[in-house]
């Protein structure tokens, strides 16, 4: 992880189980799309897992764009002082 001063505050074993829980949950909610009739307003919403993919792509896009934005708008902490 890029952020950091000390060791991670959550014990690695706990962290590992949280991640496993996340992966399982993702798989379950993705898989659920094949077992019920969706009623989204747009055709694209009918695709299985659309919202999952949209969420993932948006999040990555957001963070990568923000990194570029940071190069433009970030200044020293005492910039206005």
């Amino acid at each position: 992880m890029s952020h950091g001063h000390g060791p991670h505050s959550v014990p690695p074993r706990v962290g590992k189980w949280i991640l496993i829980g996340l992966y399982v949950a993702c798989a379950v909610v993705f898989g659920l799309d094949f077992f019920y009739e969706k009623h989204g307003h747009y055709a694209v919403e009918q695709w299985p897992g659309f919202h999952g993919i949209y969420g993932f792509v948006c999040f990555v896009g957001l963070v990568l764009t923000a990194i570029v934005l940071r190069k433009i708008v970030m200044r020293g902490e005492d910039y206005y002082d």
Binding site: M1, S9, L22, F50, G55, V63, A66, L69, V73
Partner: protein
């Protein structure tokens, strides 16, 4: 009897006048009084009839100083709740200035949502501006003083626009009533801009992120609840169905999330997040259907509680660790487990996880957008929902309480006092209760609700969006792409008035200054020449007029002058 009592004072003024008594009370009496004010105020608005109206005649104009209907009452209710929780959270603060200004501020906001005409609205509008600035100054630093001045200027400008618009609107229509105005004339446009400043439209927004994080640990909790939601109420009342609000609101949901990723101060992150949440409400107001207005009002209700909770959690961090900079924090959960837990609940509520309040309110707005075929807005809101998860659902709780052990965490001695924890617990309770049992909130809404958030599609698609966004966070961290928290200042539109405008003023001032100096030098040089010339003529001992004249020459000179005058007089 109680009804007569309730009708004897406009809602809100109980808190305004009650605030004035606070400095004269001591100890438990003071605490009880402060806690009693929002409770009595809430009782008052529910004792009054649901269609109560109070009209006064002043100088031949009739002003509706109180108007109760479902729209004003849902905002009035949550304002009282927010005031009560904020009083509890700030109960141990030993600073009467903060207590008085905060109570009067909340009273002003309550009075404003019950104002039935634009003049009454204006008076309360300015009252909220003037009282709230003391919460920023309460930090009592040079920095907070300057920020407060900037904040006050912007807030007063918003009020001036409202007043100017009101006067133009009155001149045109002869009406002061505060009903649906629409963007139909210069007057209503000015009013719209006044509301736009206070609801932090894009480019008019930066007063919020500038000012709120500069207040005290408790002051920001107060500030987060009232001004902006008063503005949302005002938009819902005056400009429901004004379509321009849809792109404005969509932009508001989207651009702050980028800033929230890179901002280091977690209270400033929450201020960007607040701006983003206002965007959802503005879109709802712009769509203007019953479902959308219900969504905007419900979202404001839920938002005030979960945003207050998040600011309370960060206030707790500020109080115990001395900072809310993500770069300095981490690992606080061991010392502050309750605050961490409440912060996570607030984060889940704002991220709109099913069974939390944000889910049952935000989905109304998204559904309304889709039903009315606002496709771009719909997908922007969906994007912004993933963005909310990043900054408020993950970043704020994660970097403050978890992530890596920090020096700040070592200094922390333990949890905040009981009153702050209880305030957070109650807010957290509402975040879950509204999510699980939305019906009581739906009953408060302006229009009948025939809609449920809990169907298979809504729940599964929302869980997909959120869980896969968390997956993206894990992925970005694993590959080392998630931006590190750095001590920094992030430039926003305030740069224009904090750096650019002063630089322009200095430059123009410099040019003008040089021009003045030049002109002065030129004037002095010319004067010197004239004086030098005169001196040469009149100096004693000079050959010309400086010499003493014999009386004959003087008489001859006077005669010539007189003849000249005679000639001039003859022809004139």
């Amino acid at each position: 009897m109680t009804e007569v009592l309730a009708a004897s004072l406009p809602p809100g003024l109980l808190l305004v006048f009650g605030a004035a008594l606070v400095p004269f009370l001591r100890g438990n009496a003071k605490k009880l009084w402060m806690l009693a004010l929002p409770i009595l105020g809430l009782a008052q608005i529910w004792l009054l009839p649901a269609d109560f109206s109070w009209v006064v005649e002043a100088y031949g104009y009739s002003l509706e100083i109180v108007r109760i209907d479902k729209l004003s009452r849902v905002f009035g209710t949550v304002f009282h709740l927010a005031a009560g929780l904020s009083v509890l959270y700030a109960l141990k603060v030993d600073d009467d200035t903060q207590h008085v200004s905060a109570l009067a501020y909340s009273g002003g906001a309550i009075g404003a949502v019950f104002a039935g005409d634009l003049v009454t609205l204006f008076v309360y509008w300015e009252l909220t501006a003037i009282t709230s600035v003391f919460l920023i100054w309460a930090s009592r630093s040079e920095r907070s003083y300057k920020t407060g001045i900037r904040y006050l200027l912007v807030q007063v400008l918003s009020g001036v626009l409202l007043l100017a618009g009101t006067l133009l609107h009155f001149a045109e229509t002869g009406s002061l009533a505060f009903d649906n105005l629409g963007l139909v004339s210069p007057g209503t446009t000015l009013i719209f801009l006044g509301f736009g400043i206070k609801s932090a439209f894009p480019f008019l927004h930066n007063w919020l992120q500038d000012a709120y994080p500069e207040s005290t640990a408790t002051g920001t909790v107060w500030l987060s609840a009232f001004s902006t939601k008063l503005a949302i109420y005002a938009l819902a009342r005056g400009f429901a169905g004004t379509e321009i609000l849809i792109p404005i609101g969509a932009a508001m949901t989207a651009f702050p999330v980028f800033y929230a990723v890179i901002e280091n101060d977690l209270r400033r992150v929450l201020s960007y997040s607040l701006n983003n949440q206002l965007g959802f409400m503005v879109v709802g107001v712009g769509i203007g259907t019953d479902l959308a207005i219900n969504g905007a009002a419900a979202h404001a209700f839920a938002h005030i509680l979960y945003k207050g909770l998040l600011f309370m959690a960060m206030g707790a961090v500020l109080q115990q660790a001395g900072t809310t900079k993500a770069s300095e924090l981490g690992g606080l959960w061991r010392k502050m487990p309750w605050s961490a837990g409440f912060c996570i609940i607030g984060g889940m509520a704002i991220s709109a996880f099913p069974l939390f309040s944000g889910f049952v309110t935000k989905s109304m707005i998204l559904t309304a957008a889709a039903e009315e075929h606002h496709t771009i807005a719909f997908f922007v809101l969906l994007f912004a929902s993933a963005g909310v998860l990043d900054h408020s659902g993950i970043k704020v709780p994660y970097f403050a309480f978890f992530a890596h052990e920090s020096k700040a965490a070592e200094k922390v001695r333990g949890e905040v006092p009981w009153n702050m924890l209880v305030a957070m617990a109650i807010a957290a309770f509402f975040c879950v209760a509204i999510g699980v049992f939305p019906a009581p909130l739906y009953d408060l809404l302006p229009f009948p609700v025939e809609w449920t958030a809990y169907d298979m599609t809504h729940v599964v698609t929302q869980l997909q969006l959120l869980l896969f966004a968390i997956l993206a966070f894990v992925f970005l961290n694993k590959v080392g792409w998630y931006p590190a928290e750095l001590r920094s200042t992030v430039l926003d539109t305030d740069w224009f008035y904090r750096k650019a405008a002063p630089a322009v003023v200095r430059a123009v001032g410099g040019v003008l200054g040089r021009a003045v100096v030049g002109a002065k030098e030129l004037a002095f040089a010319s004067t010197d020449k004239v004086i030098g010339g005169l001196e040469r003529v009149f100096r004693p001992g000079a050959d010309t007029l400086g010499e003493p004249w014999p009386s004959g020459r003087t008489a001859a000179f006077a005669a010539v002058v007189l003849v000249l005058l005679l000639v001039i007089a003859y022809f004139a």
